[in-house]
């Protein structure tokens, strides 16, 4: 992430003020913020400077739903069995619908209709975060666009702002519609919006996202975009990849290798 001009000026201004302060005042400032326990990450947790994902479309097997099923099972995603109330963290969409300007009618049908996984793009510049009035949706330092369901008031501004349709609203109580409850992850309640969290809770335990682990074809590659020589970088550098509607300036972090 490159800092914007505004960020740069803000940091420069803050540093200048900090330098003018006498040393004891600086100490007092840091002591104030240290009231909360310091952030400590368990040793086994996976960390990154910028999490990202590559979908290697060539490996994606038509008819396979392993990634969707695994994700929805792990995160207690309900199945209302009707499209109007549908809730999805990850779903399958035809390549032609994902990339309407890139894919044209003269391309082979197998490519046009290939179902590809779509999930939250964990944008560099996420419009959902900008519009959220309660800061329920926020961006972590490692790029994950997270939701704090405790704060969500269900206004659905984020759903209007997201150009990818990655967010779903719980119009009804989801509990009765969850096939098999996973006790390790909370459900949601009526009136909150939900979406993919890049398996933030699994990363903290040192596990890769559920969809990545579930994919037998290894079509989903997850890793640190800033880490040279990572699998993810290797895949991206090995060929041509595109992102969904990157012309909007959102900086999506799910890459598709077609």
């Amino acid at each position: 992430m490159t800092p914007t001009r505004r960020d740069f000026l803000r940091i420069a201004g803050a540093s200048a003020v900090g330098l003018l302060l006498p040393p004891w005042a600086r100490m007092a400032n840091s002591a104030q913020t240290a009231g909360m326990a310091p952030i400590s990450v368990p040793a086994k947790a996976l960390t990154a400077r910028r999490w990202a994902m590559v979908v290697d479309a060539a490996k994606c097997r038509p008819g396979c739903r392993d990634c969707v099923d695994a994700c929805h099972l792990v995160h207690n995603v309900p199945d209302f069995k009707n499209l109007k109330d549908d809730i999805h963290w990850i779903s399958l969409e035809k390549a032609g619908h994902l990339f309407p300007t890139e894919i044209h009618l003269r391309q082979p049908e197998a490519i046009r209709t290939l179902p590809l996984p779509v999930l939250c793009n964990h944008c560099e510049n996420p419009p959902c975060v900008r519009v959220c009035p309660t800061k329920a949706t926020f961006q972590r330092a490692d790029g994950i666009v997270m939701m704090d369901y405790h704060r969500c008031i269900g206004c659905r501004f984020c759903m209007a702002a997201c150009p990818y349709g990655s967010r779903s609203m719980n119009y009804r109580d989801p509990r009765p519609f969850i096939g098999k409850l996973n006790p390790d992850f909370p459900t949601r309640t009526r009136g909150v919006v939900e979406k993919c969290n890049f398996c933030e809770e699994r990363l903290a335990q040192g596990l890769l996202p559920a969809c990545v682990t579930a994919c037998k074809e290894k079509a989903l590659i997850f890793g640190d975009l800033e880490e040279k020589g990572s699998d993810l970088r290797h895949t991206l550098e090995g060929g041509f990849s595109i992102r969904r509607r990157s012309e909007l300036g959102t900086g999506p972090q799910v890459y598709y290798r077609l």
Partner: protein, 134 residues
């Protein structure tokens, strides 16, 4: 001064006062015994020192504040460990840490919440692992 319809007005005032003060005197006569909280879950029995994350009086008075600071810490900061005042380090997790010991929500959480008239909305989303395993 002449009060027209004196009896109607006075009866009305008396009925009104009774209705308004109803919540104050109703329940005065009743004595509700304090809740009998069960702490004999298998996980607690297995503990050598039967101690919660913090001292029992602190937990009794401040568990809600602790839980909220835990929630903020995990969700907002990604910090999943808690250093207690005695120096022990705990994993922050409602289902994993709190409810592993207090696996009897009905006899522990609910009894006291019902007594105190507290209606926490934790359970709208969070699951009792014990109820799912059953």
């Amino acid at each position: 001064m002449k009060l027209y319809d004196r009896w109607k007005i006075l009866t009305g005032i008396v009925i009104f006062l009774i209705a308004v003060t109803f919540p104050i005197w109703y329940g005065k006569a009743k004595s509700v015994p304090p809740p009998d909280l069960k702490l004999d879950t298998p996980a607690i029995q297995a503990l050598k020192e039967k101690l919660c994350v913090e001292q029992a009086p602190t937990m009794r008075a401040n568990h809600m504040r602790l839980l909220i600071s835990w929630r903020e810490s995990v969700v907002r900061d990604g910090n999943r460990t808690y250093r207690a005042s005695d120096g022990k380090v705990y994993t922050i997790s409602l289902a994993g840490t709190c409810l592993e010991c207090h696996s009897n929500k009905a006899e522990f959480c609910d009894r006291c919440h019902d007594y105190a008239g507290a209606k926490p909305n934790c359970w709208n989303c969070h699951i009792m692992p014990e109820e799912v395993r059953r």
